[in-house]
Symmetry: D2
C-alpha cells in the first residue's frame, strides 16, 4: 500500500502517518519528491485494514497495490479450479452448458424440456423456483413445489439442477434439492446470503451485480470461499449502462480480466444480457470465443408462452442449432461440447 | 398499456394480441397507422401482469402508461405522508436531521456524540451496528452489542435511533432496539428483507441502490408498503456513474422527481454521496434547497480516528456550523430546523 | 408516432394535440382508455419533426415508432452494404483487418510495420497523423508530414491507409492522402465534421462516441450519408461505464444490434476497448464470433517504445499469432481472412 | 508521478524504468516493499509526458500525483477568476443569470423575451443560432440571421448575448456578434474548436460533455486557456447515466469539486439537466445553494410553442417567480441577484 501525501504536506503530518503504520508493527519507506511525499508500507497490510489513512490530515490518497481477495486471486492459486459434479466438470476442457426455462412453471413443461435437452447431451438444467421480481405483484415462483419438480426431472434424466436461492429459507431448500446454488445479480452483495452460500455444501454460481465492478465481484466470491466453499463459478450477465438497445450491456471483457485475476471458472448468461432472442446466438458465440467456460441460457419448448422472460427465451430447436455452432467453435478454442467425445 | 406492433405486422398477429387481452376480461382499442398498428388496453392491467406480450410474434414493444406501484404513488394518495415518532415528525414542516458515526465503536464515543448532538437539538442519532462491507476481512460491526449501546444513549438523551438491518436476524433485533430501521443501498432489491421490513413494526429508511432507477426504488418501497408498513422514508445517497471525483454521484434531481411521483418523505445522505468531508456542506445545502425533507450525516467527535468512513465524516463543530447554515436556509424553504421553534 | 396523454387529460387538451397534427396535413387516431388516452399519428411523421408535443399541456410522453434514420436503416435497404476499395472489400465475405501503430512516428517505423503486415497479407494500414489528446501538452501527431509517410509506405506496399481527421483542414488532407477517413469517438457528434465527411469522396470509418447510444450513432451515420457518402463503416471501440478494469467497456452486443438495424459494415477496435495488450486476443476473437466484419488493431514493431497507447499495442509477432487464430475462426463464421484464398 | 512495479518485478525491469526517468533529466526514488517496489519521480514531470511507462515490462501502474492542467488549476492561481463584461461580472459577488429561448426563432419573439427579461434586471440573454442536432433532419438554427437578431435586441436592451458556436465559420461570427461564446457539450473535446475559442477574443462558456469526467473537462478548459483566453466559465448541464427519469443527471457535486480544483467560475444549466419544466425551480435553487456562480435557463414567452426544447422551457412569469426565490437564497449564500443592489 502507498500513502500519497498532499503537495507540501508538513513534516508532522508525514510523521503521524508513519507512526500509525509502525504502531501496527509494519515498516514504512518515505520517498520525498519535489513537491509530493509518498510513503510505502512494508509488511502485512491486513493489519491496517481498518486504519482510515485517507482521513489523516495531509493525506491525498491511498493506493492499494495488492488485492484484498486472498482465496479467490490467481496469485496464490495459479491453476484453474475445476469443479466436479458427478459425471460433469466445470472449468475443465468440456464447456458447461446449462439450459432451461426462466421459471419452473409445471411438471409437464419441465419434463418435456429436460428430456429434450438431455437428448442433446446437455448436462445442466436451469429453472427458477424462487424469483426475485422488481414488483411485488409479479409472479414470484413456485418455491419448494418448483424445487421438487426440478429434482424429479433431474432424477428421470440424470441432469444436474441449477437454481436460484434468495434467502435463508430458500438456500437451505435449494441446497437440498439442487446440484448448484445460484446467487442472483441483485443479491451479489447480500453478504449474509453469501456466507450461507459458503456453508451450503454445494457449488455456487455467483452472478455479477448490475453495477458491480470486477473487484467487488471477486470480493463477493471471497465471502463465499472464506466461509468454507471453494466451488464458486462466476457468471457475467450484463451490467447496467446508459445503452438501452439491449436489456443490459454484456461486459465480455470481464472474461479475460477474470481469467487473469482469478482461478475460478467463468460462465456467461447471454439471455439476461441481451433481453431479446435475436441476439442470443451472437452473444453465446462471442462468449466462448472470449474464453468463457460455459453458458447458461433460457430455453423453453414454447417460448412465446413462457411465464417470465419470454422475450429473451429461445426454443429448443433454436438452442439445438446454437449448440451445433458452439460445438464447431469449441474445437478452435481447444474445448469440447458435452456429447462431442461420444461421436 | 399500449402494445406497438412491428411495421407491417400481419392481421393474425394483431388478432392474437387482441385475443390474449380479451381472454383476461379486458378490452382493446386497435389503431391502424400507415405502417404501424398500435393496440391500447382498456381495463385493469394487473390482470395482464404475467402476460409476456413482447414475446408474441409481430410485437415490437410494450409501453406501460400507468405506474406499477399503487400504494407508493402520489396518484392514489395526493397528500404527503407524515411519520410521527414520539416528539418528532418526518415529512412535516420540521426537517429531519440524523447524525452520528458511521459505525458504533464503543459506549463512550456514542455517549459523547449523542450528548453533543442533543445539545444542538438534534433528534435522530445514527450509527451502524451491522456493517455490510465489500471485503469479508473488514470490520463488520459490533452487532447486538452495538444496538444496546445505541439504545442506552438514546434513553439517556431522548434521541431516536436510526440503524441498519441486513438480514432476518438483525432486522428483528434492530426493530426491537431502534426507532427507525434502515435498509442499505446494497439490499434495496433484497426482496425478502423488504418484506421483513414491511412487517417489522417500525418506520423504515430505504436507501437507493447504487444503480437503481427511481422506478425500481419506488417498486422496492411498494414491497415494504404492501407488506403492511406505510412508514417508509426514501434516502438518496448517490448513484454509480463513470465519475470518480466523488465516491458516488448525488442524483439531486431525484428529489423533485420523487416529490412528483410519491407521497413518501425524501431525505439525502450527503456523506456517502460525497465520500469526502470537504463537500458535505455544499451537498447538504443543495439537498434542502432542492426540497428534501431531511439529511442523514456522518458525524464523529474525532473523525480522523473513526473506524469506518473517516474520510467523509465531519466533526461535531463542523456539523454545528452546517446546522446554522441549514437553519437559515430552512426559513426560505418554509421549513424549520429542530430547535428553531424554541427560540 | 404515438402521443400518450396524462391520466384524465381533458377533452380540450386532446383536441389541441389532434388539431396540431391535422394542421400539418396528417391524420390521427384517438384511443380513449379507462384513464389514459393515446393518439396515434397517421401519415408522414417528418412533417412533425419540429413540433414539441411533449410541451403541450396534458401530454405525458411521445413514443416514436419509426426510426429517424432513413438512409442508414435496414428497413429501406435490406442488403448489406459492401464497400470496394481497390482489391479489397469491406462488408463482404473477407474480413477487413486494419493494423498499425497508434501514431505515425517516423518513416522508418512505418515502413518496417507496413512491410511486415503486408507479408501477412494485411491490406489496411492504420496510423494517426492528427491525434486528439485530452491534454494540450501531449504529443499531437506529425500532421501532414505523417500523412505523407503513410502515403509513401502505402505506395511501396500496395496497402490502403486508414487515418483520422479532426477538423476542416485535416479532413481535406486526409481525404487526399489516405484511402479511408476515420472520424474518432470524440467527434462522433461533431456534426460539421460529419457533413464534411459526407462530402470527402472517400469511405469513412465512424467510431462510436464514448457515451453514445446506438441510436445516436446511427443518426451520426445518417449525417454522413445524407451529405452524399454511402460508404460508412461503423466501429465499436468501447463505451464509458463505471467499470475501470478495462479502459472502456466493449459493447459487443452492438454487433448483432447494428446488424439488425443497419446495412452498414461493422468493425471492432479491441485496442481502445481493452487498453491493455493482454486482452486484445480475447476481444478480437469474440468480435469475429459475434459477427463483426473486421478489426482495427494497434500493432507496433517495438510496442514498449511506441509514442502513444503503448500499453494496448501488440507486437507484430503477437499480431501474427492472433491472425492465425482469427483465420481458423473465420471459417466457422463463413468468412475469410485476407490471404486465405491464396493458399 | 509514481511508478508501481508488479509484485516481484526483477531488478533489470526496475533499472530500466529508472534509466528512462534519468535519461530525461529527472531523478527517482526507489522504495522496495516486501513484494512491491515503487518508484517516485522527482522533478518536472512534463518532460515525461510522452513516455509510456505502463508499457514497460514489470510495470503495474502509473499514479499521477499532480494535475496536468497548470493554468486552470487552483494550485497555481488561488484566487477566483472574475470576468468583466461591461457592467456585469462573472465569478464575483453577483450571480450571473442568463435566460432566453433554446433557439432564436424570429426577431419579434427575441425582442419580446429580451425586453421582459431586462425589466427583471437580467443582464445575459441566451438563444441558439447554430443548433447541433442529433438528427440531420431537425431544425438547425437561423445561423447568421439569428446572430443579427440577437445583436439587435442586445443593442436595444443593453443585454449581453451568450450563444453557441459549433465550427470554424460559426465561431468567428459568434465572436463578432455576441458577448460570450458557448462551446456545447458535444464539442467539449473538439480540440480544434477549443483552440479557436482560445483565440476568439471573447469569454467562453465551456459546457461539460455528456460523459466527461471533471478531469477531462478541466483539461478541455486548459486547451482554451493555453491558447490565450483566460476568460473561461465552466457550465455543468447534466451527465449521462442509467437513470432516465430526467433527461440527464445533474452532477451537483461537480460544483464543490470544481471550486476546490479550479479558480474559474462555475454555472449550472438546469434546463438541459432536467429536460422537464417541473424540475427547473428545484434544480436552480440547489445549484445556488451548492455554491454555483450562476445559472443559464431556457425561458420563452410562450414555451408550449417554442421551436426546440419546449418541454424544458419555462415561461417568463415562472422565471420571474424563480428569480424571487433565488434572490432570497442569494442573501444566505452571501451573493446578490442582479438588480438587488438597486432596491
Amino acid at each position: 500500500m502507498i500513502v500519497v501525501m498532499k503537495p507540501h504536506a508538513q513534516k508532522e503530518q508525514i510523521d503521524r502517518v508513519c507512526d500509525t503504520i509502525r504502531s501496527r508493527g509494519l515498516d514504512c519507506h518515505v520517498s520525498i519528491g519535489s513537491h509530493t511525499t509518498i510513503i510505502g508500507v512494508i509488511g502485512d497490510k491486513t493489519k491496517l485494514i481498518d486504519v482510515q489513512f485517507a482521513a489523516l490530515s495531509g493525506v491525498r490518497e491511498l493506493i492499494p497495490v495488492s488485492e484484498p481477495y486472498k482465496l479467490v486471486g490467481r496469485t496464490g492459486h495459479p491453476e484453474n479450479t475445476v469443479i466436479d459434479i458427478g459425471d460433469a466438470q466445470i472449468g475443465a476442457n468440456e464447456l458447461m452448458i446449462a439450459a432451461g426455462p426462466c421459471a419452473v412453471e409445471d411438471y409437464e413443461t419441465m419434463h418435456e424440456t429436460a428430456h429434450k435437452l438431455r437428448a442433446q447431451n446437455i448436462k445442466f438444467l436451469r429453472g427458477g423456483a424462487y424469483k426475485p421480481r422488481t414488483s411485488p405483484y409479479s409472479f414470484q415462483g413456485l418455491e419448494e413445489e418448483g424445487l421438487k419438480i426440478l429434482a424429479k426431472v433431474a432424477e428421470e434424466t440424470g441432469m444436474k439442477v441449477v437454481t436460484e436461492a434468495i434467502d435463508d429459507d430458500s438456500i437451505a431448500r435449494v441446497a437440498y434439492y439442487a446440484d448448484i446454488v445460484q446467487i442472483g445479480a441483485r443479491n451479489m452483495q447480500n453478504f449474509h446470503l453469501l456466507r450461507k452460500a459458503g456453508q451450503c455444501g454445494k457449488p455456487v454460481i455467483l452472478k455479477r451485480g448490475l453495477s458491480s465492478t470486477v473487484e467487488e465481484w471477486l470480493n463477493a466470491a471471497e465471502y463465499i470461499m472464506s466461509s468454507g466453499n471453494a466451488n464458486v463459478i462466476l457468471c457475467e450477465r450484463g451490467i447496467r449502462t446508459f445503452e438501452t438497445a439491449t436489456r443490459n450491456t454484456l461486459d465480455i471483457s470481464a472474461v479475460p480480466v477474470l481469467k487473469a485475476k482469478t482461478h475460478l471458472p467463468v460462465i456467461i448468461d447471454p439471455s439476461h444480457a441481451a433481453g431479446a432472442r435475436a441476439y442470443i446466438e451472437s452473444l453465446s458465440m462471442c462468449a466462448i470465443a472470449a474464453g468463457a467456460d460455459g453458458l447458461i441460457i433460457e430455453v423453453h419448448p414454447r417460448p412465446d408462452t413462457a411465464k417470465s422472460d419470454a422475450a429473451q427465451t429461445i426454443s429448443i430447436d433454436c438452442f439445438a442449432e446454437l449448440c451445433k455452432k458452439i460445438s464447431e467453435l469449441s474445437k478452435i478454442m481447444h474445448r469440447t461440447m458435452p456429447g462431442d467425445d461420444n461421436k
